[in-house]
Symmetry: C2
Subunit: 635 residues, 2 copies
């Protein structure tokens, strides 16, 4: 019997016409030339950036871009197609997902983190920003990162499987908000790719669990954190004044810039909006690392991570400063780097302005060649009410979300600079388009890379109100896709987003190179043949090694004793693309999947005596329903 | 300060132009006429069933239908718009969802079910079928139900909030597969709406946890279960021969029919496909309830639910039989009732046929007027390979998914009956359309009601293979929307579905009447005013009563002691539609939302000493980021 053919003749006792036979086995053809191991889907043709944008993707057509989006407090990352808006994947990260078994398999639980009793430390997360790794100033598809504001964690998604492979909890940080990978090394020109990920701490905290400082906000501070892109270990932290949220990194690797609201260190919102100006803080990465190397660091609480002092008080001399605080109007929310590498654009949420900071002048400031941090500002146009985040089209234009105006405003950087210099005739604002309603993040196709192509813009809106059929008190949110290829912006589609459509990046499809089949060697316990299927018992610990080949498991019955600690190790030996199997056990709260050639395991206590069917929960074959077996738990 | 205006002038210290002021407060207008309580969105205009079908819904347009879909082993129910395919809502049911706090709040945990230690009994579920409550043979929008095949549960979703409000675990059943509500009472003609929900048990099981019967499949059986639609209590069960999966109910309330594969009672797949014919079993509801009333029931195991014997051996005389077993070719998978109430259509998965059973003849059989169960069959056309599920257009045509042929086949019921009677010229099959790939369930707009309108068909496909951009080893699945309004079927769109697109119903939009604002009185502990905000301590149990009004909580600081059992009760006092608040506590694995006027609570042990920010996780206001407070846990 050919086990890899969906509904082959032998299985079903019914004839299959030629066309359908081809169809049913077509999936095999895809891996015919690649041997039995992993297949890499080599880059599909790059999007033609000169082709007209479109609002509809017809049946069978592929999207031009991947949109990687953080899913807010759903705890997941999503992959949409652009322009279709179709959700091509949910990637569980900080949430539990019974579909794939995330938070259920031993492998995923280890990544998520456990309490001493073996239960999950967290089942919640609040993802805010997702960014990809860079090589030569553009996406290389190797990694994507997403942060958890709720429990202070950074997660990494490997680009080949599009699955989370590591999560790091950041010490002494609450409200980990903005993150951005570096784009090259600040010192070594040979390192032209991402090796660090920067994390902004939003909520100011005490660095002690007891004593008077716990209650005194004057003793609180925030930390800026650097995590190693490969090892996911925390490298170092910098203590700063004020809260940080978003992060942008320079294309030369030298700086990370984070906007700061609540420089007042207020604890209630009224106090947080007292000052007319907050800041954008710029970190000099090379100097920070030199300071740590020179032993100028300390540690906080139980953490062994070296921390240096980046507060204003400790960094008065620009020529040695680790940090530059550029005053920016009122409670800014968002900082983004222009694709030419020249400007940081930082928006004042409670001011109708965007502040443009020159990368060149920041360098001059750090050399001591400027008097005042504000001297790094080259423009501050009024663009509308509630400006938040800015996308770029690679043609010198900015697209800023206006929360209060509920618009995206298109404005020109050079004109803004000219206006700031005194050119009263400069027409800064070029266009406005209404979005529905109240946009948060907005971003353009490839807009955070040197390859910004100015085709699509996505507006992640916080309220949908009347845009979709009513579904009760909880509304879906809106992702609106906008054509920015012409002079005027054009609304293409209202897509929906399960709360919330936080932030995202739009990545040209040739940048993402996934493997469609796992490697058997990915897992040390892989059961390489049905013949290797077995039951090992050590005391009351029982390990059941199983394989799945459609439509059967290698064992259709196994027996354990009540009270045993049972581990199931399951390998999917099917090699056909898309032929995933599931494994659920009745009444035992066990469910997970294994993709082709993947191995996963679960461990549980055999608490209930009796007979419990296990079965394939992920459709695999015409006889999927018949793919099951019995676990006998002897009393 | 007007607390309900998003970004009002007073809040932000910046002027708001007229148009935007209107925009920002527009949400208020929607409830202006309804007082302060719940608003009901009265039926939006019914879809014009004569309007042409369409493939695209333009920005700002509404969909014509709701599609309620079971989400397979994701454990959730989804609400899509038709024809756009947009996901308008995910309804967490058997899964944990940190976005809404499902499985995290006390209220949701109580619905989901707990272990004695207070932890969730299950975090997994495998939803298969979703069906709505009926009045006069069509949807009334009051309830929707979905089953869990993995842990044997039935969940109910209330139609006004579109949230799960009850879950019932069915005793002595494994592999609870098919479900269908009744459409009226079998005896009382005044009860013209759903009062019972029927559940088919798929896996045959022993009814004991110990002893030799546990291992002996000959001692196994399946149960058909009736659950009260209002109380969600199990009313009764029927013991049957063979495995059941899908369920259909007659429009007169008399019968429930379930297709049966594995009448062999095999435990491995080879044995399950030995017999050339399996069955469709029809239950006579009135007789079953009369038998129970007459005391002819028994109980099984620990369950107190009355069970009657519906096996063939116990039901040999049709005139008193509780069950009718109609032989149907090989491993049927799917039974559906035609909208005219005349026929049960049951497909033989491993036979290329559909079997049409006459409702009228079933009635005759139960009266003893027919010799043989097969005499109820009026047609058995060959329609293609791997036929599974059948949808209806209300014009006498059937649309059956063909798993192996990867097609939907359109065929005519009257022609099939004529052919069965001997009309060799009858053209039964009218059209075929390829789907991509391997369809499971298929269903038509309003197709399971008397109002079947023959406009749209959805094909839930189990493999997507090459239809979307590659996203690694785990592929998304496909929901294909097909125009069935003309003679020829026409593929409109490939939508994606997170695994898996199991089953669904397409409901005309005027049938769903949701409330957009909750009632304060929904929750006995509602905190009705910020002035009612308080902290109650009883021993080491501390309850913190909070309100949320954008952009602040009623308390921005509270103190507990390490080791306390802390309960947070939070009421959202905002009354603006779509103005949901979140509540997350740093490092405490707490996150949930409260919709306008909703109250929810969480309980946790204050394990860690220190200061922990709590903050609004669901975007609510221009000062959302500033909406936070401090929990001090004293060491």
């Amino acid at each position: 019997m050919s086990t890899n053919e969906l509904g082959s003749k032998a299985d079903l006792g019914v004839p299959i016409p030629g066309r359908r036979r081809f169809l049913n086995t077509a999936a095999l053809a895809g891996i015919a030339g690649s041997g039995l191991g992993a297949t890499v889907v080599t880059a599909r043709a790059a999007t033609n950036v000169n082709a007209p944008v479109k609002s509809e993707v017809k049946p069978g057509e592929l999207d031009d871009y991947y949109l990687f989006a953080s899913g807010g407090h759903s705890g997941e990352v999503r992959v949409y197609g652009v322009p279709s808006g179709r959700t091509i994947k949910r990637i569980p990260v900080f949430n539990v997902d019974p579909m794939v078994g995330w938070g259920i398999t031993n492998e995923s639980k280890k990544i998520m983190g456990l309490k001493p009793d073996g239960s999950l430390k967290y089942m919640t997360g609040d993802t805010h920003h997702v960014h990809g790794s860079y090589t030569d100033g553009t996406y290389d598809g190797k990694y994507f990162w997403v942060n958890d504001k709720l429990n202070g964690r950074l997660a990494r998604i490997r680009g080949d499987y599009l699955e989370c492979d590591q999560i790091t909890e950041v010490p002494n940080v609450q409200g980990f908000h903005g993150l951005f990978p570096d784009k090259r090394d600040p010192v070594d020109p040979k390192i032209n790719h991402t090796t660090r990920v920067f994390c902004g701490g939003e909520f100011h905290v005490p660095f002690t669990a007891a004593g008077p400082d716990v209650k005194d906000p004057k003793k609180y501070a925030c930390l800026f954190t650097c995590i190693d892109a490969e090892t996911m270990q925390v490298r170092w932290q910098v203590k700063v004044d004020g809260n940080m949220d978003l992060c942008a990194t320079s294309y030369d690797g030298k700086y990370a810039a984070l906007n700061q609201y609540n420089t007042e260190n207020g604890v209630v919102y009224q106090d947080m909006m007292e000052a007319e100006r907050d800041a954008c803080v710029v970190f000099d990465i090379a100097r920070i690392e030199a300071a740590i190397k020179a032993g100028k660091s300390f540690t906080l609480g139980d953490s062994k991570v070296p921390v240096v002092d980046g507060t204003k008080a400790a960094n008065k001399d620009p020529r040695t400063a680790l940090t530059l605080y550029v005053p920016v109007p009122k409670n800014p929310h968002g900082v983004n780097m222009s694709p030419d590498g020249k400007y940081y654009v930082c928006s004042g949420k409670l001011s109708p302005t965007a502040t443009v900071i020159s990368h060149e002048l920041v360098q001059k400031w750090f050399k001591g060649e400027l008097k005042d941090p504000r001297d790094t500002v080259v423009a501050e146009p009024e663009i509308g009410l509630g400006p938040l985040h800015t996308g770029f089209d690679g043609r010198g234009n900015c697209y800023t979300s206006l929360f209060l105006d509920s618009q995206i405003v298109k404005w020109n950087l050079d004109k803004a600079i000219a206006q700031y210099k005194g050119d009263k005739a400069a027409q800064v604002v070029l266009d406005r388009i209404d979005v529905h309603y109240q946009p948060g993040h907005t971003y353009c196709s490839m807009g955070e890379t040197k390859e910004a192509d100015g085709r699509y813009l996505n507006s992640g809106n916080k309220f949908s109100k009347d845009r979709f059929l009513p579904v009760g008190p909880l509304h879906v949110e809106t992702e609106q896709l906008i054509d920015i290829s012409g002079d005027k912006m054009r609304l293409l589609q209202d897509h929906t987003a399960y709360c919330e459509p936080h932030d995202g990046i739009i990545v040209r499809r040739d940048k993402v190179r996934t493997k469609q089949i796992c490697e058997l060697s990915d897992h040390p316990l892989a059961v390489k043949s049905p013949n290797d299927s077995r039951i090992d018992r050590k005391g009351n610990k029982v390990t059941v090694y199983l394989t799945a080949i459609a439509p059967t498991y290698s064992k259709t019955e196994f027996t354990v004793k009540r009270g045993d600690e049972v581990t199931i190790v399951l390998t999917n030996l099917d090699k056909v693309e898309d032929l995933t199997h599931g494994f659920g056990i009745q009444k035992y709260n066990v469910n997970f999947i294994v993709n082709p050639q993947q191995t996963a395991s679960v461990t549980f206590k055999a608490e209930h005596a009796g007979m419990f069917w296990y079965y394939c929960t992920h459709f695999c074959h015409a006889l999927h329903l018949e793919m099951r077996g019995r676990m006998i738990v002897e009393a």
